[in-house]
């Protein structure tokens, strides 16, 4: 059996890596082209990064420390996995578009 919680966290870590790639591209562009659009792109990417960091923090602190929360979290872990894997697919497409 796949441990969905660990799979979800791996997907979140992949998302963080992909988002760092997009943010560096956007920031490089923002240095040369200052506008509301470049600023907005950076802001959106940073907010998504925060979301994924929060997932990893949730897993490493709350989930690991209390066994009660671990049981209830395992019941919904596959939903979290599906959410994260869809986000990973979307971000792969975004990175492919921006880095071409």
């Amino acid at each position: 059996m796949i441990d969905f919680m660990i799979a979800a966290v791996i997907a979140a870590l992949v998302n963080i890596g992909l988002l760092i790639i997009t943010i560096t591209t956007y920031v490089q562009n923002m240095r040369l082209l200052r506008s509301y659009l470049t600023l907005g792109l950076v802001l959106v990417a940073v907010l998504l990064l925060i979301q994924n960091v929060v997932i990893v923090i949730f897993w490493s602190t709350l989930y690991m420390q209390s066994s009660e929360l671990m049981k209830s979290a395992d019941m919904v872990a596959h939903y979290l996995f599906v959410i994260n894997i869809i986000q990973t697919i979307g971000l792969v497409i975004l990175v492919w578009i921006t880095r071409r």
């Binding site: 562009n29 040369l32 082209l33």
Partner: protein, 132 residues
Amino acid sequence: MYIFSGSFQTFSFYTIIPKNIFCFVDSALGKAISNEDPRFRMILWLIIAGTRGGINRAKILNLIRETPTNANKIATTLKLDHKTILHHIEILSKHELINKDEKNYGATFSLTQIMRDNQNVLTEIMEKIGTK
């Protein structure tokens, strides 16, 4: 019923959304060019601001705008590698922003019709880039 028959027009999104929604030029002054498309404006901004090397692509478009130029000349004026210029040109042709003429060797590139219609978007972007 026939009262309404005269007032029906072909449906257009501009009846709901004003055409200058992304345009910050005062529309009362009538500065907006008739062929300008607000959707294309957003697309060009995203192509230039949202991709790696997009700013070099904007510079290429700006160079080509007045006189059609070949790849080698673009490379020397922008002080970039010949291979990078070829890559940028390939991407820009895929986006249908530039056209290649018939010649194969030393072919010159020029803007397509949609790009020529929306030139003041490019002017605006180049003003933001400045001379950095």
